[in-house]
């Protein structure tokens, strides 16, 4: 690693841009989520505040900022406030190795995927801390669910991504995009359909969203691990949830959908269009499927996704060996 001014400025600018992206994304996605939910359930969704309800999300975030930060009795204060911070800040680092455009890669590290997987672990840790520190049995139950779920689903997720890594021969996300063509049949989704399918399921589970939103299942656990958080604490969890969604969508676009490559002219607009298509798909899933039971959730993972992922990796390795 060289300590040059250029790298420093590059990463600084990138981090600031990523923070703006995260906040803007949360505001946009709240509106999209409520509107899509409305269309799916045949109701208008938000429509009172501003034209077509577009200012609703901004009003909601203003309300969150102004809310009282309520601290329940007998909580571990340090850990209680550490948890939302730990949920929010590592997510910033996760966006660094993603190639948004041919020139727009914040940090071209050869171990990009490992960096993403390494810092993703902090998200689980923050959920655990939040559930444990808030001294609430629903919180603890939600945290226990969060950990068994995300540890389980991390494995098939890695296996699915590893198949693509085998194919590209690199952990560098820019190289993985470069190995794909600009037309849809040259994308990895064609060569790795099973990996794409496994990744899609794991992506929903890793971001704790319905139908796998057991850590915060409202009907059973009020709000799971963030039951006791209000005001900015809750807002940080909320931001990091949407940022995680954005991140897995960007990874999906990079690994399977050709990244920044597309017709007419390559550029970051293709990455963003593809990532938001995946996001809308995630929202669509949420409002279409009912929540699974916890044993079903773990059975899907250990009895189906994990063997399928291993099989896929094995077949990929054999084909690569034969072709080369």
């Amino acid at each position: 690693m060289d300590l040059s001014l250029i790298t420093f400025v590059q990463i600084l600018v990138a981090v600031i841009a990523i923070i703006c992206l995260m906040v803007a994304n949360a505001v946009v996605m709240v509106y999209v989520e409520r509107k899509v939910a409305g269309f799916i359930q045949r109701r208008p969704g938000p429509y009172e505040v501003g034209p077509w309800g577009t200012i609703q999300a901004i009003c909601d975030s203003m309300k969150l900022l102004a809310k009282q930060i309520f601290v329940p009795a007998n909580v571990d204060l340090v850990l209680f406030f550490l948890a939302p911070v730990l949920a929010f800040f590592p997510v910033l680092l996760l966006f660094l190795p993603i190639p948004f455009g041919p020139y727009l890669t914040p940090w071209k590290t050869p171990d990009g995927l490992v960096l993403i997987l390494a810092f993703a672990g902090f998200g689980v840790l923050s959920n655990l801390l939040a559930g444990w520190a808030s001294n609430n049995k629903y919180g603890v139950l939600g945290a226990a669910r969060a950990v068994s779920q995300s540890i389980a689903y991390e494995i098939p997720l890695m296996l699915a991504l590893m198949a693509v890594v085998f194919q590209a021969g690199s952990l560098n996300l820019s190289v993985i995009v470069e190995k794909q063509g600009w037309v849809p049949w040259e994308w990895n989704i064609v060569t790795q359909p099973l990996a794409f399918f496994i990744y899609l399921i794991c992506l929903v589970a890793e971001t704790n969203r319905a139908p796998f939103d057991l850590p915060e299942a409202e009907s059973e656990l009020t709000a799971g691990f963030h039951t006791e958080y209000s005001g900015m604490g809750f807002a940080l969890f909320f931001l990091s949830e949407y940022a995680n969604m954005l991140l897995v969508s960007f990874i999906c676009a990079t690994f399977f959908l050709g990244g920044y490559k597309g017709p007419i002219i390559d550029g970051f607009w293709w990455t963003i269009i593809k990532a938001y298509a995946v996001m809308v798909f995630i929202v669509w899933i949420r409002w279409t499927f009912p929540r699974v039971r916890f044993d079903q959730l773990l059975n899907i993972n250990w009895k189906w996704l994990l063997p399928l992922g291993l099989l896929n990796l094995w077949i990929t390795a054999i084909i690569i060996k034969v072709v080369n």
Binding site: M1, L3, S4, L5, I6, V9, D76, V78, L79, L82, Y103, T109, P110, D111, V114, L115, L117, A118, F119, A120, G121, F122, V124, L125, L128, L129, W132, A133, V140, A143, A144, V147, S148, I151, E154, L171, W182, P263, I264, I265, D266
Partner: protein, 213 residues
Amino acid sequence: MRMDKEVVNPIIDTILGSITSGLNSLQASMEPYLPELSWVAYLAFAIYVLIILAGGFMSILCRNLVRAMMGLVLTFLGVAGMYLLLASPFLAFMQLLIYVGAVCVLIFFAIMLTRNVSDGEEAHWPTLGALGYGLLALLAPLGVIGPLIIMHAGKIPVQVPVENPTGELGEGLLSDYVLPFELISIILLVAMAGAVYLAFRGFGPEKSKRHSK
């Protein structure tokens, strides 16, 4: 229809090139005022050592189990920083992935599954015998490593570490170091079998049959 790269790239290249050269000249003009690179490395080393020590003390002195575990996380972060300083980012990220993302989370899980007595009110001072054993455990590695350090002190030239590409690490694991690599996996397999055995010993034949359904 698709625009060729040749049309767009030169424009962006000139813009990026001017920014890069401007920053480079700025850095060149600042060069006399900047500290030497070795001093930056020493400073980073000191910070990481402080983080590791603080985390270690936190993890043994805190009575609350979860806070002690946060100390452990801090230590692992410091160790990952040391790996970065040794120019091996792959190892640093793996350290975070395995120790923070998996080991610590599992320890936390175990804490939460036990009864809620993690405030340490059952803690007491260790007996003299236990203290003796602890001292022995501290001295044993010191006795092995200490003479080595004294023998080789000042003999090994300090050099800037070289960054190895990850591919070479993988090739090394599957060629020169294939035996240790496989042995480690056997150890893990034995540990896993042991854990499964321990978990199922509690069930009778009927209960275990019902459980397996």
